[in-house]
Symmetry: C2
Subunit: 412 residues, 2 copies
């Protein structure tokens, strides 16, 4: 089952003005769609980041895969590794963790692996979850992912204070049924965000709550906030930068710490575990090298007593399907996963119907492979948007400075 | 693809009088052969231990698997877990490491997982190595596994001194082409075994050497021997019992320590890694929960800088095929694997031809699934041998005492 063609298509879709520690989301979010085609005529889909540095590598790697067998993932990984060479792609916006060579390879490899699993599932007439050991849950719970935000062309309106957050949560939960809540913080001084969390606690007394300031709090601030939110948070996500900082905070706050920033590749795991820096890893197949490699990492975490949740960047339905298959097969993911799906407000490259939310959870797609079909018209429109929008690398800070020229990433 | 039947057949085959720290191999070695049959008529093979305590669990678990889907390994594992209940099966002969509940479950699950992978490979027309990511090597190197031994009904004769070991090694290498050597030690006082290793070093100057006294040396003895064999050993395997003892030795000897005794299940890994007790893990899918779970453990070891080799008990061709597929797909296994195959002297439950040694390595079987076919006549003969031989649980010590009534497990 040989790969005979790989199409790589960058796309752009509308994104609301979501605020975070790095600035504000630009009007266009970027992704890259990968289509792997085999000599038997099967096609598999993958989805990854759209930033140009990354896209260049994905395109280069795609050329190296023609002729390889879909089953031979070790050979595909080796080809990607050779293609990437010694390069390290840095996430300039600073929201998704440290950059390393291994992470660079794993990020480039991931969409191809997902596409190959899509093909193998189609060939076997089986959903991808079955290639990962079969489902341990029929639907994967996701969290309501709240953002402070400016008003935009979306159904949620502005959210710049506790009341705005509560209204946003209520609208999102009404629509999707989420049963836990994550707040992207790091936007306002910590006391304002603590007030936001407490307002959410009061409005949704039964729902687990998390806050993620993307490591813009000092160690002292993190510890103070940790105590202020004692008994309120399910976990505190990336309050402060670095493994040492997280370890200091972890030893002195009452709740677990989670991360998708200080532990993002294998070389971080030994130190973070030795220092007890984190208690929850937010796994993400987009940078942990695809679904199978992410499953290996999940086993490692479970062996060392780390709990698992799942990280999300702005994404579309191919990624949501992949995330759902992975989480459905991985018993040690015990926290609701993150997703940006509500913020895409129905925009997608996959045909409607395969993915839906029921009480905040996505039922595992039933069809073979990922269970989603590419909507070629939507892909063409989004690719045209990419060509025209002018955005080539996510730059939340630059966009923020177009409104507030003296803005800089905060440290509280 | 539902399981409609599972056959569990205990067998016995002739075993030479191989000496070890637990006594001497009885004339019959026991294994259990598992055949999983699906509603589509495909059959998969698995092989595991034959000790009665284990066999009882394998038989009980087999009944629980009917109706499950071959792809749904998480469900198969859950069914085995329920079937085992709270039981812990202890390896009474004390050669293959600590007993835990998780290890008990993983041991019972393993042959079913291998059989299901055999089926999935056959269904896809693919070798099992492809289900594990595809080959990173075309053939898997094994080591010449030397034993001190009494004369027996085998081609190797006695080996009770350095000259006997060298002759055994030469005969085995002539026949199989092995390019590394492992000596099962713990039989004679350490100085005699050091002399044996030094004789092997002189006779085979280019070949990596290992010795495994099965943890019958004290910490002080282990350190002394470690220094005496500085520059001679590839690694020193299980010189002394327990993670703490191994850690003390590891800190004071010049070569890596390997284990299949103090780290045999997930709960041992964090402590052993934190204490730097071992540098090489001898993986074994028979007690690490099958091929996929063993591959997860291999990733974990690589993340923490542990090297990998592979452990062996007396086994036949189904296990050799499974071991070969796993090692062929696992790049982080960098040492030659152990196998008892030469000691079975051609006895097997699989039809000849699929497995062979070329320069000490087994080429990955090319056929679908494991690539081996059950020889039903051989199975029937070996099952009859099981019924008649009277051995139900391996007892090297009891057999040794039938010759030397006052024999007991040594401590040097």
């Amino acid at each position: 089952m040989k790969i005979v063609d790989v199409a790589v298509t960058p796309i752009a879709f509308r994104d609301p003005p979501l605020l975070n520690a790095a600035g504000v989301h630009e009007p266009w979010a970027l992704r890259t769609i990968v289509e792997v085609v085999t000599d038997e005529g099967l096609t598999g889909l993958g989805e990854t980041y759209g930033d140009l540095d990354h896209l260049v590598h994905v395109r280069a790697a795609a050329k190296e895969l023609v002729g390889l067998d879909v089953y031979h993932q070790n050979a595909v990984y080796a080809a990607v590794t050779r293609s990437v060479g010694a390069d390290v792609v840095v996430d300039r916006h600073g929201l998704i963790g440290a950059a390393t060579h291994e992470k660079t390879v794993d990020r480039v490899y991931s969409p191809f692996e997902v596409a190959c699993l899509d093909i193998l599932g189609k060939a076997a007439g089986r959903p991808v979850v079955d290639l990962l050991g079969g489902r341990v849950r029929d639907a994967v719970p996701y969290s309501a992912y709240l953002f402070y935000k400016w008003p935009g062309d979306d159904p949620y309106g502005a959210a710049l204070d506790p009341a705005g957050l509560v209204a946003q949560a209520r609208a999102m939960i009404d629509r999707y049924g989420f049963q836990s809540i994550k707040l992207k913080g790091g936007v306002f001084p910590p006391e304002q965000e603590v007030a936001g969390i407490l307002a959410l606690r009061e409005a949704f007394p039964g729902l687990p709550l998390r806050i993620d300031p993307n490591a813009v709090w000092t160690v002292d601030t993190s510890i103070r906030v940790g105590h202020e939110l004692d008994g309120v948070l399910e976990y505190l996500e990336d309050p402060t930068p670095g493994i040492d900082g997280m370890a200091t905070v972890a030893a002195r706050v009452p709740m677990p710490l989670a991360t998708n920033m200080c532990v993002v590749t294998h070389e971080h795991l030994p130190e973070a575990i030795a220092k007890r820096a984190v208690q929850v890893l937010l796994i993400d197949h987009h940078y942990w090298g695809g679904l199978v490699r992410a499953a290996h990492v999940a086993t490692l975490c479970a062996t060392f007593g780390l709990e698992l949740s799942m990280h999300s960047n702005s994404h579309l339905g191919i990624s949501l399907a992949a995330m759902t298959h992975l989480a459905a097969a991985t018993s040690v993911i015990t926290h609701a996963c993150d997703t940006h799906t509500p913020w895409q407000n129905g925009q997608d490259v996959v045909a409607p119907g395969a993915l839906r939310f029921v009480n905040g959870a996505v039922p595992v797609p039933e069809g073979p492979g990922l269970g989603v079909e590419l909507d070629r018209d939507a892909l063409a429109v989004m690719h045209e948007q990419y060509e025209k929008c002018g955005v080539r690398t996510r730059d939340d800070g630059g966009y923020m400075r177009s409104f507030k020229p003296d803005w800089k990433r905060p440290v509280w």
